[in-house]
């Protein structure tokens, strides 16, 4: 199917370009919006991987939640007029070296390993199946995730409060 290929290349290029903008753009607000679009593109990749439910979750949590949270963080911690972030050249060189090494290693690994691939078949009604897995095989992680979210919620509120003023009340 040429159309599917074409669409896939579009989505993948979109994701990678957005990721590059996230990493290399000088204006942090541009990075944040690019991150948002990157998440959006990743949701598109999930659709290609027959994981529609996950794509929806990705949109709901990443695009609607985490990106907005990050944008709020930027707007609350920066002088809005001055949104550039300066880099140090030595870090750039070493960081680049390490990243490229990792990239090379990973791609080498991807190419060298003989993956035991089976032909993918879309699973009917995947939300139901995922729900069943949550309630059977992954019950304890599911409960722990719930507790973790609660802890994170409370912890974020406690840390984010204005140091001493609020606690005295």
């Amino acid at each position: 199917m040429v159309i599917a290929d074409f669409a896939f290349i579009l989505v993948a290029a979109f994701v990678l370009i957005c990721a590059c903008v996230v990493v290399f753009h000088n204006k942090i607000i541009y990075s944040a919006f690019a991150l948002l679009f990157c998440f959006f593109g990743v949701a598109g990749l999930y659709v290609f991987l027959n994981a529609e439910f996950l794509a929806g979750t990705q949109l709901l949590v990443y695009v609607g939640g985490i990106s907005v949270l990050i944008l709020f963080g930027i707007l609350l911690t920066k002088n809005i007029e001055d949104l550039t972030s300066k880099e140090v050249s030595t870090q750039k060189i070493f960081g680049g070296l390490i990243s490229v090494t990792f990239l090379g290693g990973l791609i080498y690994m991807v190419n060298s390993v003989d993956w035991k691939v089976s032909t993918p078949k879309p699973i009917e009604n995947s939300p139901v199946e995922i729900g069943k897995l949550f309630m059977s095989d992954f019950l304890i992680p599911f409960e722990i995730a719930g507790v973790l979210l609660l802890v994170a919620l409370i912890g974020a509120v406690v840390i984010g409060r204005d140091t001493d003023k609020d606690l005295e009340v």
């Binding site: 040429v2 919006f33 709901l60």
Partner: protein
């Protein structure tokens, strides 16, 4: 191959047409309803005939018009307006923002079940898809507010985002109750579960399907419906939850700096979002395309199903406008109080009730 492209083109064209028509009709209705509630007559001059005459350069007759083409004429006017981008604005994001807001609304139309075989994309996670994709518009609003380099724009967008993110919780929980009851995320499946007489609608507890015990569900579903309705009002920034664009404080909120066609796109997106919000309410609580009387549904009159659906939606839109021109604007703290102290506990209560019903009674 060709068929696929043709199908995509037709679907997209139909959706664009639907969004535009819905926007234009809602704007006209809003102007008329607001006028009637304030003892005015509203737009009375521009009829379709006079609009055609005006474009053709002929004499415009004033008699017998009730302003039917007013919003179309406004759209044409906005198209011709100068496109102003403020000097201090971030040009790229400023241009991108209205597109994203519109895309967020436009994409939700894809999963609306207008009739049994008239759904642009019948995804098996339809409801979830609508919820997820509508959160995409939030970022567009934030982008518009930040990029216009205007303090009112920024404040309005921050308020709007905070409001939309918090009201997603009661909306989501109240919808999950319905999903739990029907056992499917597909919009079509949810509507099909309400077939038959109108007491089968989820608003009335789907009594027909669950028997007399279904009356237990009735108060739960009414609470759910009201919670969802209030939440959708807040999600679409409608009065009384329109603090993001409170005129007396913020000029026009996040679209203060927008003019001409870009402003029109924001406007269209807003009314599109209202339509989608109420269409979900219709599909989930009010029986979707079923008229509530089996004889009418089984008569196989062509086009009756989408008509019933759209009529129901516009009844709800009328209520939305009615509320807008009745209630005063809420304060920010009142807004959050309503969400966290009233809506979320109530929706959680109904959620648990429906869960207990589903596990122990059915």
């Amino acid at each position: 191959m060709d068929n696929i492209f043709l199908w995509i083109a037709i679907t997209l064209g139909a959706m664009v047409g639907l969004v535009s028509v819905v926007g234009i009709v809602s704007i006209y209705l809003e102007r008329k309803i607001s006028a009637f509630m304030q003892d005015r007559l509203g737009p009375m001059e521009v009829g379709f005939g006079s609009l055609v005459n005006a474009i053709a350069g002929k004499e415009v007759l004033r008699e017998g018009r009730i302003g039917l083409a007013q919003s179309l004429a406004d759209g044409l006017k906005l198209l011709q307006k100068e496109d102003i981008i403020p000097d201090g604005a971030d040009k790229f994001l400023f241009k991108l923002a209205p597109m994203i807001v519109f895309a967020g609304t436009f994409s939700t139309f894809a999963a609306l079940p207008l009739a049994e075989y008239f759904i642009p994309a019948d995804v098996n996670i339809g409801l979830f898809y609508i919820l997820a994709i509508s959160s995409f518009g939030v970022s567009g609003i934030l982008m518009a507010g930040w990029s216009s380099n205007n303090k009112w724009g920024l404040l309005g967008s921050l308020r709007s985002t905070a409001q939309m993110v918090s009201y997603e919780i009661p909306v989501g929980v109240s919808l999950v109750s319905i999903v739990m009851l029907t056992g499917t995320l597909s919009m079509k499946g949810i509507v099909v579960a309400q077939e038959g007489w109108f007491w089968n609608w989820h608003l009335f507890g789907a009594v027909g399907h669950h028997g007399l015990i279904g009356f237990v569900l009735l108060p739960m579903m009414v609470i759910n419906f009201i919670a969802y309705f209030i939440g959708s009002l807040a999600e679409t920034n409608r009065a009384p939850f329109d603090i993001p664009e409170a005129e007396s404080e913020l000029v026009a909120g996040y679209h203060t700096e927008y003019t001409g066609m870009r402003f029109a796109i924001f406007f269209l997106a807003e009314y599109g979002a209202i339509f989608v919000g109420n269409a979900i309410a219709v599909a989930l609580f009010l029986g979707g395309w079923y008229s509530g009387i089996p004889a009418i549904d089984q008569a196989n009159i062509p086009g009756i199903a989408p008509l019933v659906f759209i009529l129901k939606t516009f009844v709800l839109i009328f209520v939305v406008m009615w509320i807008r021109w009745t209630l005063p604007r809420l304060r920010v703290d009142q807004l959050m109080t309503l969400c966290w102290k009233y809506l979320i506990p109530f929706t959680l209560f109904t959620f648990f009730s429906v869960a207990i019903y589903k596990v122990f009674i059915v």
